[in-house]
């Protein structure tokens, strides 16, 4: 088990963000020719004054016009815990980079050494982004793009479902903005896969909703699996095939829900 908070399917969400394009802000401020790094700091201070601030530093070339400084979430001011009044939104990136309560943006030509950039929130810098507990990767890189992933919302683990009754399996899928091409459902331990219906109305960064109708014909335990495939053809691996990293970062194993047909 990787150390750290055991999130399970927690800490994910999909909201409508409105804000100012970061590129517009930078153009207004005027960047020097040798500008290279951009650092973001927020108002969320640690309890102890010597604890370093959470500063996220990115290379300017990583940022495109989709990056915004958001002042609205779902049509209202940002809720306090979501980073009121301003929050960095980097569609397609994991949200450890989405600095809340944004207070400072600093552009430099030199890289500053920062704990949250140099030590924490990093993945192995190799082809499979993996390592072993005994042999941890020496070369690492910051977490950036999201892996293709799907989550079954209904039914839930441990539910009892009626035999021969009409069941609609539902959930969401997402990736780093290439877009979801298919979500496949298996009810026979991954031997066969059938395509779910998709609902994509909110752009390629947003959750894709999926639904699949199914009638359980056998009594007893039933495993329902969901696998998303994005437009690049990247698909989720089985959880047993997931390669390890020290933080359990970017986990995107195929979701399995176990129910009982009665």
């Amino acid at each position: 088990m990787a150390g750290g908070i055991q999130w399970d399917s927690g800490a994910m969400g999909c909201a409508k963000w409105k804000g100012v394009r970061l590129s517009d802000l930078l153009n207004k401020a005027g960047l020097k020719k040798d500008a290279h790094w951009i650092g973001f700091n927020g108002k969320d201070k640690a309890a102890y004054y010597e604890t370093p601030n959470f500063v996220r530093e990115l290379e300017l070339e990583e940022l495109d016009d989709h990056v915004i400084v958001a002042y609205e979430m779902n049509g209202e001011d940002l809720p306090y815990l979501n980073g009121f009044p301003l929050r960095l939104v980097i569609p397609g990136y994991y949200s450890d980079s989405w600095v809340k309560m944004l207070s400072n943006i600093t552009v430099t030509n030199k890289y500053k050494s920062l704990f949250f950039m140099d030590v924490a929130y990093r993945v192995p810098d190799n082809a499979t982004e993996s390592e072993t507990p005994e042999n941890k990767a020496k070369k690492t890189k910051p977490i950036t793009n999201m892996n293709v992933k799907s989550i079954i919302g209904y039914p839930e683990n441990g539910m009892k479902l009626y035999h021969n009754a009409h069941l609609v399996i539902r959930g969401v899928a997402f990736d780093d903005g290439h877009g979801i091409r298919q979500v496949m459902i298996s009810t026979d331990e991954g031997k066969t896969w059938n395509e779910a219906l998709l609902k994509q109305e909110d752009g390629r960064y947003a959750f894709t909703e999926f639904r699949f109708t199914y009638k359980p014909t056998k009594y007893g335990k039933l495993n329902i699996m969901a696998k998303a495939i994005n437009r690049l053809g990247n698909e989720q691996p089985l959880s047993k095939d997931i390669l390890w990293n020290h933080g359990g970062y970017k986990y995107n194993g195929i979701d399995v829900v176990e129910v009982e047909v009665v």
Partner: protein
């Protein structure tokens, strides 16, 4: 003059952005196990973070807990005293350990 006023309103408006309603920060109390060394854990860990950060790590090895404690000192600048480290690690391993040294 009107123009200047308008511009300065635009410029400073955002600086004075305020929350209109009361903010209620949710409080979650985590039940932590009592035992030898608990007072030291409470004094050193709770000053910065909730017990949730301990409990939610999952059962881990003695080495894991030692490294976590060291991380708190090295990276997060915890003012924990040298002699408290053993007590804290012993407590964490006893109550939130997986029985393995490494």
């Amino acid at each position: 003059m009107k123009k200047i006023l308008f511009i300065s309103l635009l410029a400073f408006g955002s600086l004075f952005a305020q929350v209109q309603e009361d903010i209620e920060v949710p409080y979650i109390s985590y039940e932590i196990k009592m035992g030898k060394g608990f007072d030291t854990v409470q004094a050193n860990c709770l000053m910065c973070h909730s017990f949730g950060y301990i409990i939610n790590q999952g059962p881990q090895s003695r080495e894991f807990w030692l490294k976590k404690t060291e991380k708190m000192i090295t990276h997060f600048k915890s003012p924990m005293m040298e002699e408290d480290i053993d007590t804290v690690v012993e407590y964490l391993f006893e109550h939130y350990g997986n029985g393995k040294e490494k």
